[in-house]
C-alpha cells in the first residue's frame, strides 16, 4: 500500500471511492499512476456487513445533515434524508442491487429522438452507443455481469417466479433474471450467490461486486494507491492561473489537512460533488469551481421511480434470495403512444419487514396500513425505474443556514416531478399492478418513491461549455486538471440503473487521463 506525502504534487487526488472514484483509482493505479483517494467513510468488508436493515443503515448510510425542497413526497416524508447513499469505502456499490444494464442506443441522444419537451432540458450526450460499446464490455467483465460474456443468469427466487408468470400472462417477452453483477457460478474470483437476501445491506459473501472490496484492494496491491478513510474533503484549491493545486480535507481526527495534487477527480455522488464545487468558490470563481455555465448542481435527476407490492392468498417470502431477482424490459422502449417520452424498467425488489413498515406508505397508519403488513409474508414486490426529465430548477444548492459537523454549508436537494415523470409513473403503476393481478393478487400497493439511490446529472456532460460542466471525458470546461468521475456527469438519465455506465465512463476516463498525463498535457 502506498503512502504519499501531503506536499507531493504529482499525485492524482480522487474524492470518493464508489462506482466512479473507486474504479478510476484502481484503473489509474494499474497504469502506474500515483493516486490518493480520499473517502469520507470507513472501510467495511463483507465480514462486517449486517443482515439487519436498520443496523446496516446505521453502519453504512450517509446521514450527514441535508435539506430538501420541491413537491416530491420525499421532502415531506424524509425531509432530512433525500438519498439512500453510503458513506464507506466503495460508496453506493456496497449497497446497490447489482443491476448492470447498458443504455439503449437512443438514450444517448434524447434531445434528437424525443424532440423538444416543454419544461425539460434534454440534451444529447457528446458520446454514443458505438463509442461506449467496448467500455461497456470492459465494465461487464470487471463486474462479472451475468448474461454477458460466458456468465449464466442467476436462478429465480419466489419473488421472481411470480413476477415472471404475471409478465408472461400479460404478453411481455423480455423477462429474465437480469444482468447482475452477482456471481452466478463458482468460476470467478468471488464466491457465487447464496440467495441470502440483504443485497442492499452489503453482500456478506462478496458475491456482488463492490468497488470497496474488489477495485480498491486491487489498486492498493499495485503500490500506487493510497486510500485515506474518514477524510472529508472541504474545498478544492486553485492557483492564480486557474488550475487546481490540491484539496483541503478534514482527517479522521477532525484536523484540516491539505493534499497537493496534479489532477483532482471529483466522485462524491451527484449531491456531494456539486456541493464541493460550490463550496470551493473563490475570488476567481465566485460561483464555485467549474461553474461559468451556472450548470453546477442543476438538472438533478433521480429517475422516475416507484414500487408495486402485491398481496396473495398464499406465502411468497419475497425476502428470500437476490433482492433484485429479475427484470421486465418491454416497457423500456421509447414509445410516445403511451403518452410520455422515454421508458422504464420493472425489476423485482424485496424489503424486510422493518423497511416495508417505513417505506410502503410513509406516514400512513391505521388498519388500511396494518392489514397490508399483516400480509407481509404473502407479498411480492417490484421496483419501477425509468428515465426522468432533466429540469433546470431541480438542483443541488448550498444551504448556508444549515451546516454539517465540519461547519460546512449543507446541500439542499430541490426536486419536483415533471409532467412526463408523473405520466410514466402512473403507467408503470398500472402495468405493475396488472402483472400481479394476472397471477391472482388480492390487493396491490402502488408505493411512492424512496429516498433516491440513483442521483444523476448535477455536473452534466456537454460539448458546449455554456450548456454543461464537463466535456466528453468528464474534464471540466473551466479547469483543465479538474475532472468529474461519477454519475453527476450524466447528460440525461436513461431508464437503466446507472452503475454500469458510471463504471464504463470511469474506465474510459482512466484511459484518457493516463494518455494525457504521459503526453505531458496534464
Amino acid at each position: 500500500m502506498a503512502n504519499f506525502e501531503l506536499n507531493d504534487d504529482n499525485v492524482v487526488v480522487i474524492i470518493g471511492t464508489g462506482a466512479g472514484g473507486g474504479v478510476l483509482a484502481n484503473e489509474l493505479a494499474q497504469k502506474g499512476i500515483s493516486v490518493v483517494s480520499l473517502e469520507a467513510g470507513g472501510r467495511h468488508l463483507p465480514d462486517d456487513f449486517i443482515n439487519d436493515e436498520w443496523d446496516s443503515f446505521g453502519q453504512l448510510a450517509w446521514t450527514d445533515a441535508r435539506t430538501t425542497s420541491g413537491d416530491w413526497r420525499v421532502a415531506t416524508d424524509f425531509s432530512g434524508l433525500p438519498t439512500w447513499l453510503v458513506k464507506s469505502v466503495g460508496g453506493a456499490t456496497q449497497h446497490w442491487a447489482g443491476a448492470s444494464l447498458r443504455f439503449q442506443e437512443h438514450e444517448w441522444k434524447t434531445r434528437t429522438v424525443y424532440g423538444q419537451v416543454d419544461g425539460a432540458t434534454l440534451l444529447d450526450w457528446p458520446i454514443d452507443a458505438t463509442e461506449m460499446d467496448s467500455w461497456y464490455t470492459k465494465a461487464e467483465d470487471k463486474l462479472d455481469v451475468t448474461r454477458t460474456g460466458d456468465r449464466p443468469g442467476l436462478p429465480g427466487n419466489n419473488n421472481y417466479l411470480i413476477f415472471e408468470k404475471g409478465a408472461k400472462a400479460l404478453g411481455y417477452k423480455d423477462v429474465h433474471t437480469g444482468r447482475m453483477a452477482i456471481n452466478s457460478d463458482d468460476k470467478r474470483d468471488r464466491l457465487m450467490c447464496q440467495q441470502t437476501g440483504f443485497c442492499f445491506q452489503g453482500c456478506k459473501w462478496g458475491a456482488k461486486w463492490s468497488a470497496g472490496y474488489v477495485d480498491i484492494p486491487q489498486g492498493e496491491a499495485t503500490g500506487n494507491l493510497e486510500v485515506r478513510t474518514h477524510s472529508h474533503v472541504a474545498r478544492i484549491l486553485h492557483n492564480a492561473a486557474g488550475k487546481v493545486t490540491g484539496v483541503e480535507y478534514f482527517d479522521k481526527d477532525g484536523n484540516l489537512q491539505m493534499q497537493k495534487a496534479r489532477v483532482v477527480c471529483v466522485a462524491g455522488n451527484s449531491i456531494e460533488s456539486p456541493r464541493l464545487l460550490l463550496n470551493s468558490a473563490s475570488n476567481m470563481f465566485p460561483n464555485g469551481l467549474a461553474n461559468s455555465s451556472d450548470q453546477v448542481g442543476r438538472n438533478y435527476m433521480r429517475h422516475m421511480t416507484g414500487s408495486v407490492y402485491a398481496a396473495f392468498e398464499k406465502p411468497v417470502k419475497m425476502w428470500r434470495g437476490t433482492t433484485m431477482a429479475g427484470i421486465i424490459q418491454d416497457e423500456s422502449r421509447h414509445d410516445p403512444s403511451r403518452g410520455f417520452v422515454g421508458g422504464y424498467e420493472m425489476e423485482t425488489l424485496a424489503l424486510g419487514l422493518p423497511f416495508m413498515a417505513a417505506f410502503l406508505d410513509p406516514g400512513a397508519w391505521g388498519r388500511e396500513f396494518t392489514t397490508a403488513l399483516d400480509a407481509y409474508e404473502n407479498m411480492a414486490g417490484m421496483w419501477l425505474v425509468g428515465e426522468d426529465m432533466p429540469q433546470t430548477d431541480n438542483r443541488v444548492t448550498l444551504n448556508t443556514d444549515v451546516t454539517d459537523q465540519f461547519g460546512l454549508p449543507t446541500p439542499n436537494v430541490h426536486f419536483s416531478d415533471h409532467e412526463n415523470d408523473i405520466l410514466m409513473r402512473n403507467h408503470a403503476y398500472k402495468q405493475g399492478q396488472a402483472v400481479y393481478e394476472a397471477v391472482g393478487a388480492t390487493r396491490t400497493f402502488p408505493t411512492p418513491p424512496y429516498p433516491s439511490t440513483h442521483n444523476l446529472g448535477t455536473n452534466r456532460m456537454s460539448d458546449n461549455p455554456e450548456e454543461g460542466v464537463v466535456n466528453k471525458w468528464g474534464q471540466t470546461h473551466d479547469i483543465e486538471n479538474l475532472f468529474v468521475s461519477d454519475g453527476s456527469q450524466f447528460t440525461t438519465g436513461a431508464a437503466e440503473n446507472p452503475t454500469l455506465t458510471i463504471v464504463a465512463l470511469a474506465i474510459r476516463q482512466a484511459d484518457h487521463l493516463a494518455r494525457e498525463m504521459s503526453a505531458g498535457d496534464l
Binding site: K165, W205, T370, V439
Partner: protein
C-alpha cells in the same frame, strides 16, 4: 407514599373501567402495569400507570395488529417512561383524553370501539405529539426482532447459509 396510594386508587378505577369497557387489556398495580394473563409486567417510573396504559392503547390504535400482543406495544413505547420525556407524554395524553371527553364523552381508555378511538386520533394526526408517537413506532414496533416471526419474516440468513438450500424458490402454488 402519596403516589403509591394514588396509584392504588387508580388501579381500582382502572380495573373497573377496563374490565367493563375495553376488555381488560391491563391490570394496573402500584407503579406496575401487567397483562391479565401474567405474560408480561412493567414497572412504570416517571409516568402514571394510567397514562402509560393510554399511551399503549394509542400505539395499538395507530398500528393495530390483532396477532401482536400488548407486550410488543409496551416495549415500543416504554422509552417514553423517563423523567425527560414524561412532560411531553403527560401533555399529549392529557390532550388525547380531553379530545376523547369532548368528542365521545369518555376517557380514551374507556371508549369501547376502535373506530371511535381512531376518530379522535384522526383529529390530532397532524400534531407533533401524534407524529412523534407514530414515527417512533415505525422502528419501535416493527424493528423488534421478536415481533418478526408473527409476520413470517425470517431476519438474518447469512449464518444459515442463505436460502440457496433453504427454499429461495420453493413456491408451490403458482
Amino acid at each position: 407514599m402519596i403516589n403509591q396510594c394514588k396509584h392504588k386508587e387508580m388501579t381500582r378505577r382502572q380495573l373497573l373501567s377496563r374490565a367493563t369497557v375495553a376488555g381488560a387489556s391491563f391490570v394496573v398495580g402500584a407503579g406496575f402495569i401487567a397483562a391479565p394473563n401474567g405474560l408480561w409486567a412493567l414497572e412504570v417510573n416517571a409516568l402514571e400507570p394510567a397514562t402509560f396504559a393510554t399511551l399503549v392503547q394509542m400505539a395499538r390504535d395507530i398500528y393495530p395488529h390483532d396477532k401482536v400482543g400488548d407486550a410488543f406495544y409496551v416495549i415500543a413505547v416504554k422509552g417514553y417512561d423517563t423523567a425527560e420525556n414524561a412532560p411531553t407524554i403527560i401533555a399529549g395524553i392529557t390532550d388525547l383524553d380531553n379530545r376523547s371527553q369532548t368528542q365521545k364523552g369518555a376517557k380514551y381508555l374507556d371508549i369501547g370501539w376502535e373506530r371511535d378511538r381512531v376518530d379522535i386520533l384522526r383529529s390530532m394526526e397532524n400534531n407533533s405529539f401524534f407524529q412523534m408517537i407514530r414515527g417512533g413506532l415505525v422502528t419501535g414496533l416493527y424493528n423488534q426482532k421478536s415481533v418478526w416471526p408473527i409476520f413470517g419474516y425470517e431476519g438474518s440468513s447469512y449464518e444459515f447459509g442463505g436460502y440457496i438450500d433453504r427454499g429461495f424458490n420453493d413456491i408451490n402454488w403458482l
